[in-house]
């Protein structure tokens, strides 16, 4: 009668979101590198397909809408990205970055308008991902402890 069944479901959901966001960020980082001739020469195997960019944009935009809802305490922040038990803590961690709202709005605009993402945009994405990584890791610790 431990918490393990519920925790395991929540953890699987968070892994899915964390991996999708991280892969999207990697796609944008690669796209950025490909704009630079030196990097292109240095990493000859580096490539990103238009489909990968479209998929990354689409997922990141959906996630950003949800993050904005979360930061504004909107009740419609969707649970499909992360369990409710994690949302509050994620929100608290994100709010520690006072420039986040501004950074994310710029990022959202650039992706929507299919503009080249900037280094600041990539930093904002990294912040979202590493914070998600912390949440996922915390949940994993709970899962391990519940098992004993």
């Amino acid at each position: 009668m431990s918490d393990i069944s519920a925790l395991s479901n929540q953890y699987d959901q968070l892994v899915d979101t964390s991996e999708k966001i991280n892969n999207s960020v990697i796609t944008f980082k690669k796209q950025n590198l490909l704009q630079d001739a030196v990097s292109k020469k240095k990493y000859p195997n580096l490539k990103v397909s238009p489909e990968e960019i479209a998929q990354a944009s689409s997922f990141l935009l959906l996630f950003l809408v949800n993050v904005f809802d979360l930061l504004r305490d909107e009740p419609n922040a969707e649970e499909k990205f992360m369990p409710l038990t994690v949302m509050d803590d994620y929100k608290t961690r994100l709010r520690k970055n006072v420039y986040l709202d501004e950074d994310l709005k710029r990022l959202q605009k650039n992706i929507q308008e299919k503009q080249q993402v900037t280094d600041d945009d990539l930093n904002a994405m990294d912040f979202l991902v590493t914070t998600l990584d912390t949440e996922r890791n915390n949940l994993f610790r709970k899962l391990k402890t519940a098992r004993g």
Binding site: M1, Y43, A146
Partner: protein, 374 residues
């Protein structure tokens, strides 16, 4: 940094290979479930392939991808540890108790008419973590030495409930979800209409979310366990509640689990549905005395956390779900089998309550009786 990342990814791939070598070796117990073993090997091979893909992709050579690669590494590590903790250790520790439980669970599944593949029962748990189930891996863990106990065994039926809930969730809860939403929506509206404390709105939303995220599942498993093993489950719940009472937790709710008090009401409701009115009266007398003696605090607004109407609505829904999938209830088992394990568990509880000094001998005899059955 790139060299360091390459090093730790290589180390990760090696860790998966070492586990694979042990699982493919000759010292795995011959009675270990072949599918479980094969799936574990598959999961490790797939993890190894994914790690190698990253190593060979050249991504680890790119410094600007470092933070993303660290997130990848952390995720792989957790994946590896999940396999290690919930599968590898189950296989490595498979021994005589597991063989015994394998036969016992086969018998229980026959008696309850459960058509799912039987789970692996492992004794890698301990008395603190007690019984737990991981439906995604089809395992139930019980404390070491549990093959020599009977009074906790009704909780095995609760864990079986988790496996059934994973497969038949819609049958158990779909009728109930709209009723739950309606209840909390109405309460939120009442806050507005009656100008009550606005803080109640977030309180209701929080409780509504807990119902959806954990409580429905736990109540469902309690209902299923009661349906399958009858009054014995109420006694086992009382035994567990004794531990909670020392921490003032009888009425406390957690995001994953409802309060012990609410769970007992759920159990009583299902027992009533099965025709165990007399037994409910007896156990309820004991329960009320227990509540009186333990004097645990009742939280503010408790009535709105676990309303009886919601518990009963979910109970009805689970009862219909059990009937739809043709599970044999405890009364059904009594009719169809001369001595089902569920009956032995009920007798064990009656015996320990009537004649506790003699219980040790009686328990040993009953365990022997189960051994003969399986």
């Amino acid at each position: 940094m790139t060299q360091f990342l390459k090093g730790i990814f290589a180390d990760q791939a090696n860790a998966a290979l070492k586990m694979l070598a042990r699982l493919k070796g000759n010292d795995i117990n011959a009675d270990m479930d072949k599918t479980f073993l094969a799936n574990t090997i598959h999961l490790l091979e797939s993890l190894y392939t994914d790690v190698m893909k990253i190593i060979q992709s050249g991504d680890l050579d790119i410094p600007t991808l470092a933070s993303s690669n660290i997130v990848r590494y952390n995720t792989f590590t957790e994946r590896l540890q999940t396999i290690e903790l919930f599968r590898y250790l189950v296989i490595i520790n498979y021994g005589e108790p597991e063989k015994y439980f394998k036969k016992k669970i086969a018998r229980i599944y026959k008696e309850i008419n459960c058509l799912q593949s039987e789970p692996i029962i492992t004794t890698i748990s301990n008395s603190e973590n007690y019984y737990w189930a991981l439906p995604s891996y089809n395992i139930i863990a019980v404390p070491t030495g549990e093959e020599k106990n009977l009074l906790n065994l009704p909780d095995m039926y609760h864990e079986i409930g988790h496996l059934l809930d994973k497969q038949h969730r819609a049958y158990f809860r779909d009728d109930f979800i709209p009723k739950l939403s309606r209840f909390y929506k109405d309460e939120e509206q009442r806050v507005v209409d009656e100008q009550r404390d606005p803080k109640l709105i977030s309180f209701y939303r929080d409780k509504h979310a807990s119902w959806l995220n954990g409580w429905i599942m736990e109540f469902t498993c309690d209902f299923i366990a009661t349906y399958l093993v009858g009054p014995a489950y109420a006694y086992t719940n009382l035994k567990i509640s004794t531990l909670s009472s020392g921490k003032d937790r009888i009425y406390a709710d957690f995001p994953s689990h409802p309060s012990d008090e609410a769970r007992m009401r759920a159990i009583f409701f299902m027992l009533h549905q099965l025709g165990f009115g007399t037994e409910v009266n007896d156990i309820n007398k004991l329960w009320q005395e227990f509540l009186k003696n333990t004097k645990n605090p009742v939280p503010h607004n408790y009535t709105f956390i676990f309303p009886q109407a919601l518990i009963e609505a979910l109970g009805q829904s689970v009862l219909q779900g059990c009937q739809k999938i043709d599970l044999f209830s405890y009364p059904d088992q009594l009719k169809k089998f001369e001595l089902p394990i569920s009956k032995i568990l009920n007798e064990a509880w009656i015996e320990v309550l009537r004649n506790s000094p003699n219980y040790k001998v009686s328990e040993e005899q009953k365990i022997l009786a189960i051994s003969k059955l399986i």
